[in-house]
């Protein structure tokens, strides 16, 4: 066998292996759609128009309104991002411009550690520490606010690490030029660093939003899980992800199918965000998170 031939022979399995990611993506979407079809056929618009969420295996017996959970997911996510974006950005600025080099190294390690803590542990901490604290102030404690707080903490490292690497990519000569102009530290940050790193920072916030929408267990554990439209920060609600986690265990028939449909909606939401973030560029940074 000639060397060229053996080369070709090796390429075939490698190419097949490399296709696996694409095949898995295809299977995920195909299965979600396939499993959602009964819900779309038998429940259809009732997903929006039913009186409430009282799922049964047969579509005719139950009620299947998912909108309160979609809205709850969006509100929880918005709250988390509103909190995490400024805090994460400030963390990045601290590392890059305020802390001394040794403090910055330690602080970055801390943020990386925060990024490595599993969602389950955030959720557990929220359940046993945060929820009772909030409950003492305004019962029951398990609420939209608790979920937003826990999620904010979870996605803060994403914002901080990606925006820091975006700031690192700002050319040194900009900073030197700002120094030559006599700009102060804050002046440099506001008029040089933030404008030139804004795409990277936006990418960071979008990716963090995607993570917040998709997070399941940390939310389930602190949000109270009552299906209704959010009417106040301290009200318990149920998120779309949490609904899947809570009901997949016993769901069957059209109920199960409706859960797959909520998975499809979630995937759609997150995909739009991820693709948008990728289009914004700054690919190197994405790999940091």
């Amino acid at each position: 066998m000639s060397p060229q031939r053996s080369e070709q022979l090796l390429l075939i399995p490698l190419r097949l292996a490399a296709m696996s990611a694409a095949v898995i993506c295809f299977l995920i979407v195909a299965l979600l759609v396939l499993e959602s079809l009964p819900a779309l056929n038998n429940i259809g618009w009732r997903l929006l128009s039913d009186a409430n969420w009282r799922p049964t295996p047969a579509a005719a017996d139950g009620a299947f309104r998912v909108t309160p959970m979609v809205v709850a997911t969006l509100v929880i996510t918005a709250g988390a991002v509103l909190l995490a974006a400024p805090l994460g950005l400030a963390s990045a600025l601290f590392c890059r411009f305020y802390a001394s080099p040794s403090v910055a190294v330690v602080y970055r390690r801390l943020v990386e550690l925060l990024a490595g803590i599993p969602g389950v542990i955030y959720g557990f901490w929220g359940l046993v520490v945060l929820v009772p604290l909030l409950g003492a102030w305004r019962p029951p404690g398990a609420s939209l606010l608790a979920a937003s707080l826990v999620l904010a903490l979870m996605i803060l490292p994403t914002v901080a690490l990606i925006s820091e690497s975006a700031m690192r990519a700002v050319p040194q000569r900009y900073v030197r030029a700002a120094a030559a102009l006599g700009l102060s530290r804050w002046g440099t940050i506001r008029s040089v660093i933030l404008p030139s790193a804004r795409r990277g920072i936006l990418t960071a916030v979008i990716l963090a939003t995607g993570r917040a929408i998709g997070e399941t267990l940390a939310v389930v554990m602190v949000v109270g899980n009552i299906v209704r439209f959010p009417s106040g920060l301290m009200e318990p609600v149920r998120a779309l992800t949490g609904n899947i986690a809570l009901e997949m265990g016993y769901a069957s028939g059209d109920h199960r199918s409706a859960l797959f449909f909520s998975g499809l909606v979630l995937t759609g939401l997150v995909m739009v965000l991820v693709l948008f973030a990728n289009r914004l560029g700054h690919r190197g940074a994405i790999s940091d998170a």
């Binding site: 490399a18 993506c25 599993p118």
Partner: protein
């Protein structure tokens, strides 16, 4: 570091204005707050979890739905699921990384296609992986709630991370190595086996360790694939519960399971910290090795 020097406010020629002071105050406050939150979470876990931790806790079977006893079956199930997922993800991922770094040009269409698929896969929420695994492995493949189904689901989930990290490892092998292999008349396959893979090994180990960490932390994808049976799985076809799932079950569905959940949390966090440390150490050795080569 230059940024920091150049933006130091003490430079004589600059005015330090009120907004400057306010910004500095704000940034320092946030940094303190974030560090404080991390300490709060970790210390709370340690304070309540450490007293329940003992060798017995690791080696005993749980009693009373996990309210008492240990977590031995959970540890066994966790290890089994990890092994299955890595056994699938590592060969697939390594082959993908080899193809991307050694065989096809960066800008080629196939490379773009594979990269795009990996990016999409990395963005899929973990609960959706759970749905996917439940539909494909548990139902269509008829595996039921099992270690195998959970491991395969996790393999799909960690694949993008493993590919990216090991591709980075392969790319950071100096091109001199490839030229030297060419000069020796090695075929590409031989060059990969006896030059590139050994040189990239520490980096590939980092990829392995990172993927293990991701898999260990996961629970949502496992609830409906490997399930939550609290026994030692006797085969890959049995259901088993990982550490992360155990914490979730104890906290949510077992009243009075809190202290055991704390202790399990300490074990999980300890394992992740160990992994973190291992990555850092490997990374350092790896960096030194590549630098040594360049010198």
């Amino acid at each position: 570091m230059l940024d920091r020097v150049l933006t130091q406010p003490r430079a004589k020629c600059r005015k330090v204005t009120l907004p400057d002071r306010l910004a500095a105050l704000l940034v320092w406050t946030v940094a303190t707050l974030v560090a404080g939150m991390l300490l709060w979470i970790v210390l709370d876990l340690l304070r309540h979890g450490l007293p329940h931790l003992s060798i017995g806790f690791l080696l005993d079977a749980p009693r009373d739905a996990g309210r008492a006893g240990g977590i031995a079956p959970v540890l066994v199930a966790t290890a089994m699921i990890l092994i299955v997922s890595l056994a699938v993800a590592v060969p697939l991922g390594l082959a993908t990384a080899l193809l991307l770094s050694e065989y096809i040009r960066r800008g080629s269409r196939f490379a773009g296609f594979v990269r795009h698929a990996l990016e999409v896969l990395a963005g899929v929420p973990s609960i959706v992986f759970g749905l996917f695994g439940n539909a494909l492995f548990v139902r269509y493949f008829g595996m039921g709630y099992s270690v195998a189904a959970g491991g395969l689901t996790l393999a799909c989930m960690v694949l993008p991370l493993f590919v990216r990290a090991s591709e980075e490892a392969l790319r950071s092998v100096p091109d001199d190595f490839r030229r030297a292999a060419d000069a020796l008349g090695l075929t590409r396959a031989a060059a990969i086996r006896s030059v590139l893979l050994p040189a990239a090994l520490p980096g590939i180990l980092v990829a392995l360790v990172l993927s293990t960490g991701r898999a260990l932390a996961e629970a949502a994808a496992l609830l409906f694939t490997s399930g939550y049976v609290l026994r030692v799985p006797e085969s890959l076809g049995d259901s088993g519960r990982t550490l992360a799932v155990h914490i979730y079950e104890l906290a949510m569905n077992v009243p009075g399971g809190e202290s055991q959940a704390y202790a399990t949390g300490v074990v999980l966090l300890g394992a992740l910290l160990l992994i973190n440390l291992l990555t850092a150490l490997l990374g350092r050795r790896y960096g030194a090795q590549v630098q040594g080569v360049r010198r």
